[in-house]
Symmetry: C2
Subunit: 348 residues, 2 copies
């Protein structure tokens, strides 16, 4: 029997780094998988070691999602690219009104990337997967030459099963529905910006990156006729609501006073000239449901550890299909327009 550990000296997890052989499909690739990924992600399906995984039947409608993660920097207050990748994909599945079950993960590694950091990221992914109750069942690793990536890019795909019989998506918002969000806006984006090299402000802002599937289950139990679930990631609350308004061909009227923005996030946004409604979140959800179920949905969110600051922030209207308006703190009204230009690149 071949001793696959014989060359493991080259895989010094403390001082070693990724080289081109780790992506070439030979012994070095297998060793990297064994020493880093298989160690952290171990489960009955992954451990088979095939190029794919064979899972039990899914007898309810199947929800799938995928997400590429190119966040810079890789480590930030409140999380890292690994936590972001797993939570982001879990959330995309959950926002289909589904229970996430499985994750696939592909790594694109830059030659020279420290193995210690890769190990740390893999551990973070494993912990977030455990927190969300999902298994990382199969994966792939590629390596590109130094300079042709930025450390590591992580692409995850998620698979889950529908929680409710009704279809939940961005086309289902109806005039009269209530619009809720589960907490404060802009935390993730400002946490990332605060630690970019060219930024000069110091704050205590932490990313909100977290798996939301538990809260989705609670909301759907409390408000079973929910029409739309969505996590306001890139583009923030404003872009996400505009997308839903467009897809459902409805208008929306928001109440600025009801939208929570942490003082330190607001201060940082003002400093940088950003609108927190356009800043990404990675652990918040939008719920759009009939008015008569709005209080139940709100209570369910507030009872969840990730939803203490949940609020009803507006109403779906039949005015101006595809547009979002807001009653401002000053009592006026303004359009909350599309994000026309790039605000924050590589925020997730």
């Amino acid at each position: 029997m071949i001793d696959r550990t014989k060359d493991l000296s080259r895989l010094n997890l403390k001082t070693g780094s990724v080289d081109m052989t780790h992506g070439a499909g030979g012994l070095a690739s297998v060793q990297l998988i064994d020493a880093v990924f298989a160690k952290h992600f171990t489960n009955e399906w992954l451990d088979v070691g095939h190029d794919g995984a064979l899972l039990p039947p899914i007898t309810k409608p199947v929800a799938v999602s995928c997400d590429a993660h190119v966040v810079s920097p890789l480590f930030f207050p409140g999380g890292d690219i690994g936590r972001l990748a797993v939570a982001g994909t879990v959330n995309d599945v959950a926002m289909c009104g589904a229970k996430p079950l499985y994750i696939t993960v592909s790594f694109i590694l830059e030659e020279g990337f420290p193995l210690a950091k890769l190990d740390q990221i893999a551990e973070s992914m494993a912990m977030t997967a455990k927190e969300a109750g999902v298994a990382i069942v199969t994966g792939d690793t590629k390596v590109v030459e130094k300079g042709l990536a930025d450390g590591v890019y992580i692409v995850t795909s998620g698979i889950g099963e529908a929680l409710s019989g009704s279809v939940i998506n961005g086309r289902k918002a109806q005039a009269g529905d209530a619009i809720l969000i589960s907490g404060s806006m802009g935390d993730h984006g400002m946490a990332i910006l605060s630690c970019r090299e060219n930024m000069i402000f110091e704050t205590t802002i932490e990313s909100d990156a977290a798996p939301l599937n538990g809260m989705v289950e609670a909301v759907l139990e409390a408000a079973p006729d929910t029409h739309v679930l969505r996590d306001p990631t890139r583009g923030g609350l404003a872009a996400t609501l505009n997308e839903i308004a467009y897809q459902s061909q409805v208008g929306m009227l928001l109440d600025e006073a009801a939208i929570v923005v942490k003082p330190e996030v607001m201060a940082a946004c003002e400093f940088l000239g950003l609108d927190p409604l356009f800043v990404a979140n990675e652990g918040k959800m939008i719920v759009i449901c009939p008015q008569e179920q709005a209080q139940a949905a709100l209570s369910a969110m507030r009872a969840h550890p990730l939803g203490h600051d949940a609020a009803i922030i507006g109403t779906v209207t039949s005015d101006g299909p595809g547009t979002v308006e807001m009653t401002t703190l000053m009592g006026g009204r303004r359009m909350v327009d599309w994000l026309n230009s790039e605000q924050l690149p590589r925020i997730c």
Copy 2:
């Protein structure tokens, strides 16, 4: 209603290029998705435009796979990164003994990448998906700064349903089994190498990149007790068989005379000092099945357009678990060892 085409001038598919706004989640992102991806990939699930897709139940065991594609160059004789991505993922699902149904796709785009090339790649993906009978149901797009990727990286994930009741994977090879391959070795790898900038030979070698799910169905019908299916991609036939021998704790004895290598591939390999058994394939499959079903499997492969050159190339043994030996053309025997060092980076 917002006119989402109003800014489409910036999306000139002939002369335009990717910029950072296309990955920022705002209007530019939506326009890119509409003008390129939604146009080519259109189907009932993708068209919903959610961050995930909701699909019908899968009542048989579910096969999933994922693959990152970083091939260089992006366009090569016989294919491109788009065809490679779809075929590669279809094949990984098929090699679980499953029928591929759905694909998810994430793009990591380099700022400045020509939209015309992106459009061409998306079209190629759509055509390959059609050829394989799978739907591209959801996706994600990220953009990184110029220099931090190599044009485009594509990560695909595949979902399918098991074709047979028996479990097919690399741990199931048994002493006495026949080993078959569906055609000539090394075509993809040598096609890629032949068009790298620093290569000086000219050949007519084309990549074999193709979806193999049709042939898998035919083989499993003819040889229902098949133990292992695998496509010998990175690391080629040699690395793949070593991996299976290790996982199943069996030996293998191959017959070099039975392994087809095209003359032009052999010539190019000799020129570069490469062993074709270590060179990647993207449209070939290994079948390991009981001897009594080997002829039926062989006939099924040869009857398929992609399997004209199929052959029985060896036997699974109980000697030297985890090792692969070969009877050479000269009548001797040699070990077919692990690929210890990188042969061909970024071949897929």
